[in-house]
Symmetry: C2
Subunit: 425 residues, 2 copies
Amino acid sequence: LTGDGNAPRPTAAVLVTGNEILLGLTQDRNSGFLARALDALGFDLDRVLTVGDAQEDIENGLRELLGHDLVITSGGLGPTHDDRTVGCVAAVAGVELESHEPTMRYLEERTARFARDRGLDPASFVRGNRKQALVPRGSTVIPPVGTAPGLAVDVQGTLAIVLPGPPRELSQMWDTATELPQFRQVLGRAESLERHVLRVYGTSESAIADAFEDAGGDGGGTVTTICAHRFEVEVLVRAPERRRDALDHLVEGMKERLGTAVYLEDERSIEELVLDLCRTRGLKVATAESCTAGLVSARLASIPGSSDVLLGGVVSYANEVKHGLLGVSTETLETYGAVSAECAAEMAAGVRRATGADLGVSVTGVAGPGGGTEDKPVGLVYVHVSAPGSEKGRRTVFPGDRNSVRDFAATTALHLLRRAVTDPA
Amino acid sequence: LTGDGNAPRPTAAVLVTGNEILLGLTQDRNSGFLARALDALGFDLDRVLTVGDAQEDIENGLRELLGHDLVITSGGLGPTHDDRTVGCVAAVAGVELESHEPTMRYLEERTARFARDRGLDPASFVRGNRKQALVPRGSTVIPPVGTAPGLAVDVQGTLAIVLPGPPRELSQMWDTATELPQFRQVLGRAESLERHVLRVYGTSESAIADAFEDAGGDGGGTVTTICAHRFEVEVLVRAPERRRDALDHLVEGMKERLGTAVYLEDERSIEELVLDLCRTRGLKVATAESCTAGLVSARLASIPGSSDVLLGGVVSYANEVKHGLLGVSTETLETYGAVSAECAAEMAAGVRRATGADLGVSVTGVAGPGGGTEDKPVGLVYVHVSAPGSEKGRRTVFPGDRNSVRDFAATTALHLLRRAVTDPA
């Protein structure tokens, strides 16, 4: 699958359709999935275009993207009146629609079973089934995961892969699409890039930019992306295989300058890293959360296999729960308040006691928008990790709205947990 | 701000920039925010275009969007080498860059303070400050929230609003931008649409499409969007004020056909609805979560003022925590297992007891990918709500991957909580 190192990489574009996205009612998650998948295969994704459900908008959007080697569309394959993608693809390709009989039979069986299970009227599915079984003449049908079939269609020399909007259906059908002969043919020219990631925490984006410039920048044929999110910065350096030396040189130069702020050099998330660190040491974790109210535990539990490490925790939103389930003393709550280093420390110790965990991590703060005072402004958060023979606490004032503060606080708690494991002194 | 009902609404387009988005490393949240804001003001958002950081891509993207009344750009205003938006806007507008002195002074003060607070070298900010203070000649500067100033620039007759990528900075600076005289001038033609939303739970998207068709569809001048996410379906019917009758007729027709599946007719989330229902009745809620591990409590706590209702809860990931903190009996765990209706009921009752809450809601299931058996497949989830004199349980097998199952389960728990309050019998 690697090219000869000189041919340009094939280019791709994504067309996302849906009024609900342009109205801000729902967020497109498919273009992110496709972006990662295309990069891994060796495509250059040039652009993502989002248009509404109007026939004219979809057809114009598709026509504009035809210069690329590959165009992937997402959405508009459902049974409702505003699902128009298939008709638009046929129109731009200049072919008729026809009913695809295997799909029709699949849909009839599936909707009959569904109607029976839920006690719905099977007749209510007839119109939708007929619509969803229509495909452009000459296209290759990708079997549905839900009810919508996908398509691989040659549109004026560009391969169009037409996929449904629900992310789960799209991602499964994408795997099938990449195995099609016409897809493999486009893929033949793809050269996947060498990549090295530096994950950085605890320094400014400006300092990282300086480290990049001082280490020589992208002069040697590398392409570097610096991306901050939730107080973490990800530096991704990529280069063709023949520029591997330049890539290594730049990475080493940045690492020298950034020191211990580089906490990871692979693409694991902080959640995965914390779980891996604890798992190899046989450590169990429990959480005690006030303003984050379960975000830390839910983020850890989002990773398969987290039950090896995560025992659970207590969401102690009300002071009665901090006292009753975590044993935070009434004196601490009265003297220092629920948002205090003292309370955070007692919460972390309390959840270790309550669950038998080796490590207890706690978060308490003022998420806002109400509840701030001069002494304890909105954004003030205390995080604490209690471990055998080691206590670590941190006070930070985070910027942003309620949910930014909560996200930042959860990220900080995960990093403090990481440090409690790797650097317990 | 309303038009005469005949003038076309002004159109808008959004240009999102960033290699990190096209590589799938980060998700664009700004276009969703801008979409909602533009719709509320009465703009038609025609398209969102995402391009990379290359100068050529940004300039081409901007040129392609110039036919709209308003173009908003997001990202590429930072201090690093791959932040190129300002230069591109100047190039397309055909004007020079110049240093904006008030911005330069603001940045110098801000970074000096930041460097002092964090113990960083102030010299590391000089290069970035100089870059960020450059603006196209003749543009209006929107004061920075972080370090990047925003811009309002006339680009060949189109008003371009240039905003930074961090969502918090973008949203605050957007509010300032909408007050600028040149923005008010474009806005003058905007006619905001009448809108009515039906939020539907517990029926199929096909049945909703049929209800829509049978109620007459969009023939009367309405524009209807049907959008499913996380087992909830949102039906948004919009029309110009002069078509209010057609809108009301369609809405009433759909409501008749959908019956009690319509659970809400405004834009509150299920979290807000549950909190409001409990608040007016003086009810306190606590959560007991296994596979969702805090998602239900974190979703409730995402709403400002949730502490009136949410006391907290227990994340009982391990069986020892189900037994120790929630009092689930060893017999239940051994006989029926942790994923069972019996365990869910004891978890819900247990968390009421442990916290003194009026309502206890529990979730236990097999999120996968491992741990499924023939009897208890991946996706099997039990949800239970325990309330004074009322117990409600539900068993469901959800499709999808680990985090889909967890999301679906949390949504189901919130809806069961809603029904426990509105329909306790």
